[in-house]
Symmetry: C2
Amino acid sequence: MPAVDALALDRQVCFALAAASRSVIGLYRPVLEPLGLTHPQYLVMLALWESSPRTVRNIGEALALEPAPLSPLLKRLEAAGLITRSRKVDDERSLDVELTVAGRALRSRAEGVPAQIVERLGMPVAELEATRDALTRLLEASR
Amino acid sequence: MPAVDALALDRQVCFALAAASRSVIGLYRPVLEPLGLTHPQYLVMLALWESSPRTVRNIGEALALEPAPLSPLLKRLEAAGLITRSRKVDDERSLDVELTVAGRALRSRAEGVPAQIVERLGMPVAELEATRDALTRLLEASR
DNA sequence: CGCTAACAATTAGTACACTAACGAATTACT
DNA sequence: AGTAATTCGTTAGTGTACTAATTGTTAGCG
């Protein structure tokens, strides 16, 4: 393949990925705004609704995120009253992140979010799941 | 489907999308670093290698980007000596962005980028193309 | 036992991205 | 013609992300 075409394909793949990511996250914005959450904060809450407490590093592994961006994000969630942050008793290097009552309560309001997004996208659920699986393979291949 | 499944992290398209986007862009970082480009800057240069000059708005439409983040980004490319920024003569609201000689010259060094990424991913090109098509449909559906 | 290596989280610095507000220029309408 | 509505780019403010350096803590080894 000539380099000119390789640049074109590359432009298509990395552009499609970055643009779709920005655009889909933009769809979440008005849906999450009433909950007082940004999209990365929503992902952290999803991780905590699955399991709480868990450490900063453990959340980072679940979300493929470094502790660096999590640190200020978690402070905002703490300021919003959704989580508590406290050093582990058996290892003071680690920070336990735990849902508050308000954080747990927010879950029921968040349960409608996925359906709203799927409806807004107007794509068959099967195609969304296939795309998600393709993205998961891409994620695995890239790390 | 119970809400417990709807909120499962590993079922979320938005998580796979955000994580894959961050991770793949991370792959570009060491490859683009010798060129002195970040990933969004690389996308802008790709757009300019296809057509130059073009206006800020026109670049934004090609990349699905608002003028707001483009404005400081283009100033950095100008500071790097890769582009020039000048008001259009026939409409002084618009800004013409044009490649410099150095900007055009950078293209030959960038032509090796796609192959490096594809090789690093280790995925069949056909699967990459299928994923690109799925992402394009997702992008279209989301805007 | 003490020193060092490894580890967890935070911080600093740079660069995006979004919304909203703004200033300057152009077009449209009466 | 002249005002109003649009359009284009920039800026301010908030919130991510990344790398690298830092602080504090634990574990391992001679």
